[in-house]
């Protein structure tokens, strides 16, 4: 067919110019963000981009079956990109550029591939439409106009492709007709038409295809489908460390702290907001969203994007903005309550197919509320003051830290004389229930002949909750104090009872110039059992043991197997898994400083998690974290199941099975 080049050139130029202008306007705003180094480890980045983005490992994961549909569409799209590029270039110079000018050996297979992929793309679009209409997933706005617009455009594009090639086959112009099964089928529709009509049809379908293609291109930057442009680079720029440890702040006069305005985010944070595909998996996984809190991680990212689009141009011109980033009340503004609802469990980041980092953004905004405005839930005030004044959450006299060891002969840690520092932590030292866990650990360490000591009343709180709550100023001081103690005393190897201490000592203190060899008691116990240093003779029957993964061990530090193996060694039975386990584990509700806040909206997270555990008919629930221990016991009382079901820390289970 012959295209009217004189008409097409200006159309293409205008469409391309519009697209570039749109992209420029949007991406320019990303540069308003603060610097962030996401260029190191290029090799690793390229590899993960190939694996996760091109391999679509990120969409087909965690049991999301429809990710497969995306994989099909993605690869059809990538390959049809070649066909569409040829289509546009062919439109510019019909006589020069055309695949049909290639040798048959190349052209025929290409024609076949394009034809088949086009029908695959059409099929996956239809599946997507049906899914949205008939059984929409609850966690996304499945029936948005945005989604149907783009699906419709792709469908029309594919139909135009078949119609165009169908008419060309009917005209007898297509040499590869035999190899284009679908287009060939379409050609029968037009078989009775006269040559003139066919020519008009071909022309119309060509223009339809061209206009839809260019409209699609220009629609992208203004919709959630911008992710087509941004998600692959976003995977490239993802955090290369598993743990997304919050960056420290510099406490200098004149600095602002945290993020209170959208340009105080890093460019990567802003780019994240452009990359969101609105797939809703984060919200589906979020324990806060699930239990009816105001927080919905997808909307947090969405609001950041809306805020950037609204305020960015004003900020770029140094004009006043009128939509606050934090405050709520409208699209593009995030309510305080949303930020305080996060348990920092990281489930959202774990499932995000494009590696958006939700939690650090939430903590950054908390920092702004705490550090710049002193605005936080009132129950945090005593918590902050107690920690600052007495280095424990309850404001208990620091000298009581040693009380748990009153009846034991516990040695103080001395470098050279004791191998391990047992960093007990606030819960382990002060909380009556957790003290039993501490005693179990002490008993096991002694039985195994480990050389260990404690800091006693000189031990300080690690500051985990402070950091997650955005009180970085006080965290910073505590981290420095702790690191000084560790350095002064020559601490190298540390055993922790609490996963939060573990994570803070291991990953956060690293920023303060100390590399500790930290081991959580679950790992240590499992090692001791495996190496035969503990002889177990079985314990009293624990019944059905259901295992709960704590977020800061599992998702944060990849410790999944050690506690399970240890339970198995004791009970000779693999612990029962909950529906939500391993990297999809459901938070107990106490992380991110939530331990110290009231939970007045929606259902209590601990109750929800306890119900999930009760569904497995446990006699014992095994936890590895003092927060989880507290939350589960509270939840069981709430469900009036505390008589039937006991909650034990792994250390208690192992200590109970030691040969007497």
């Amino acid at each position: 067919m012959s295209v009217n080049v004189a008409v097409f050139i200006p159309v293409l130029v205008i469409a391309a110019a519009l697209f570039i202008w749109s992209c420029f306007r949007r991406f320019r705003l990303v540069l308003l963000g603060k610097p962030a180094n996401r260029f190191r480890n290029i090799g690793k980045r390229v590899k993960s981009m190939i694996y996760f983005a091109f391999g679509q490992r990120c969409t087909v994961n965690h049991g999301y079956k429809f990710g497969l549909n995306h994989l099909v569409l993605f690869w059809c799209f990538m390959i049809l990109l070649i066909a569409n590029t040829e289509f546009l270039l062919h439109g510019l110079s019909p006589n020069v550029i055309s695949f049909s000018r290639l040798t048959h050996g190349v052209y025929y297979p290409l024609a076949y591939i394009f034809d088949v992929l086009s029908v695959l793309a059409l099929a996956s679009v239809i599946i997507a439409i049906i899914r949205r209409l008939v059984f929409p997933p609850y966690y996304i706005q499945a029936r948005s106009r945005d989604a149907f617009t783009i699906l419709g455009l792709i469908a029309v594009l594919m139909l135009a492709f078949f119609s165009l090639h169908g008419t060309e086959i009917a005209q007898g112009k297509e040499i590869a007709a035999k190899y284009m099964p679908i287009s060939n089928a379409f050609s029968h529709i037009f078989s009775g038409a006269s040559a003139g009509t066919l020519g008009a049809y071909a022309n119309a379908f060509w223009w339809l295809h061209a206009v839809v293609l260019l409209s699609f291109l220009n629609y992208l930057p203004y919709s959630k489908h911008m992710h087509i442009l941004t998600s692959i680079p976003n995977v490239f720029f993802r955090s290369t460390t598993k743990v997304n440890t919050q960056l420290p702040e510099e406490f200098k006069k004149g600095n602002t702290f945290g993020v209170g305005q959208v340009n105080q985010f890093s460019w990567k944070d802003l780019f994240d907001s452009y990359s969101c595909t609105e797939c809703g998996r984060c919200s589906n996984m979020c324990p806060a969203t699930y239990t009816g809190k105001l927080l919905n991680p997808r909307l947090v990212i969405h609001d950041i994007k809306v805020n950037l689009l609204k305020n960015g141009p004003l900020i770029a011109q140094s004009k006043a903005t009128n939509m606050p980033l934090i405050g709520g009340g409208q699209e593009g503004s995030i309510a305080d309550e949303v930020l305080w609802a996060c348990t920092t469990c990281g489930a959202c980041m774990e499932v995000c197919p494009v590696f958006i980092e939700h939690v650090p953004k939430i903590v950054d905004m908390r920092r702004n509320l705490v550090e710049m405005k002193a605005k936080f839930p009132t129950e945090l005030l005593p918590f902050f003051e107690n920690i600052e004044q007495r280095s424990n959450p309850w404001g208990i006299v620091p000298s009581d830290r040693i009380k748990w060891a009153a009846d034991l002969n516990v040695k103080p840690f001395e470098a050279g004389k004791t191998e391990y520092l047992f960093y007990v932590g606030c819960f382990g030292a002060f909380d009556a229930r957790s003290r039993k866990v501490t005693l179990s650990i002490a008993q096991i360490l002694n039985t195994a002949g480990i050389s260990w000591g404690i800091l006693g009343k000189d031990e300080l709180c690690c500051g985990d909750s402070l950091r997650r709550l955005g009180n970085e100023f006080v965290f910073d001081r505590m981290a420095r104090d702790n690191v000084k103690i560790f350095k002064d005393r020559g601490v190298k190897k540390v055993i922790t009872e609490c996963p939060h201490c573990y994570n803070t000592l291991k990953n956060d203190y690293h920023q303060y110039g100390i590399e500790l060899d930290v081991i959580h008691h679950t790992e240590l116990l499992n090692n001791l059992i495996k190496s035969g240093k503990l002889s177990l003779n079985g314990s009293k029957d624990l019944g059905n043991v259901v295992f709960h993964d704590s977020c800061y061990l599992g998702r944060y530090n990849n410790i999944y197997e050690a506690p399970r193996q240890a339970v198995t060694s004791v009970t000779h039975r693999v612990p029962t898994e909950m529906e939500r386990n391993l990297e999809k584990s459901f938070c107990c509700g106490a992380g991110g400083g939530r331990m110290w806040m009231e939970e007045s909206t929606g259902k209590r997270i601990d109750v929800e998690r306890v119900e999930q555990a009760l569904a497995k008919n446990p006699s014992t629930i095994c936890v590895c974290c003092p927060y989880c221990l507290t939350m589960f016991e509270d939840g069981l009382k709430d469900k009036k199941a505390d008589e039937k079901v006991q909650v034990l820390d792994l250390a208690e289970i192992v200590a109970g099975a030691l040969k007497k």
Binding site: F251, K252, K253, V370, Q389, A432
Partner: protein, 271 residues
């Protein structure tokens, strides 16, 4: 106009232990805090600042390390801090303390009009609740003690209206400015310092007023000016009651003991 706020740095009394042998207080290693009542007095002053635009000057008498507490007050929002520190001020009882504080107030009043002198109801180390009234008496200011609410300040009429919390009743009192107010802890919920102010407070000037500046007669201040002399500090013998069980380590068992005890004495009963 000024709100003059007095604060005291006290040992964190919950962390003070009594030496079982000598019966004296073991102060070693006990951290110092701003007297909790004074935290509320400062908060009330800062609220007046926010509402009426007063300047808040915070004063403290004590050893040089009291500067820490004054910096905390600056971080919370006080505009200026003055440290009254001199060896000759040391060992003062409430009489001698109020003498220095009243003179300092007079000195401030020479430069700027004072609206209110604010202090906490009492300190947690001395517990006398006498210094506030002492200052007011020496200055001839009306004293509004046990205040849990400042209803309003009328700048035109130069009056302040407060609510006093007395046993079993409230009293609404109006008084001319300047007045001295002593604040109850229930009056407010103190704010939390924002980081920029904390950083500012780290090296903000804290003015030192020693007796060279104050020029007070030595027999009216410090130990010499005190009417009370401490002979002995001891913890009183417990004459009644008993400590049941081990609440910290065996809470359930201890609760059972307590319930049995209360049942036996017919203080509670089972339905």
């Amino acid at each position: 106009m000024l709100v003059v706020t007095f604060v005291k740095q006290v040992p964190d009394t919950t962390q003070v232990k009594v030496d079982p042998v000598t019966g004296t207080l073991v102060r070693e290693g006990v951290p110092f805090i701003m007297n909790p009542f004074d935290v509320h007095a400062l908060e009330e002053s800062l609220r007046l600042k926010d509402k009426y635009g007063f300047r808040v000057i915070v004063l403290s008498m004590g050893p040089p390390n009291t500067e820490v507490t004054l910096r905390k007050a600056l971080a919370l929002g006080a505009d200026e801090a003055i440290l009254l520190s001199d060896r000759v001020f040391g060992g003062a009882d409430t009489l001698a303390t109020s003498a220095v504080l009243a003179e300092a107030t007079k000195k401030l009043a020479q430069k700027e009009e004072i609206a209110i002198v604010m202090c906490g109801k009492q300190t947690i180390d001395g517990d006398t609740a006498q210094v506030g009234p002492g200052i007011a008496t020496r200055l001839g200011y009306p004293q509004l003690t046990l205040v849990d609410l400042i209803v309003n300040v009328d700048l035109q009429a130069k009056k302040v209206k407060v609510r006093r919390r007395l046993e079993g009743r409230y009293e609404i009192v109006e008084s001319p400015l300047p007045s001295l107010i002593s604040i109850l802890r229930r009056a407010n919920r103190p704010r939390y310092p924002v980081v920029p102010r904390r950083l500012m407070a780290q090296d903000a000037p804290v003015e030192l007023w020693n007796n060279k500046v104050m020029g007070l007669k030595e027999d009216t201040i410090g130990l010499k000016g005190s009417a009370t002399q401490v002979r002995k500090i001891f913890s009183p013998e417990r004459t009644k009651g008993e400590i049941l069980g081990d609440g910290a380590n065996k809470p359930e068992e201890t609760a059972k003991l307590l319930i049995d005890k209360l049942l036996a004495k017919n203080i509670i009963c089972l339905k």
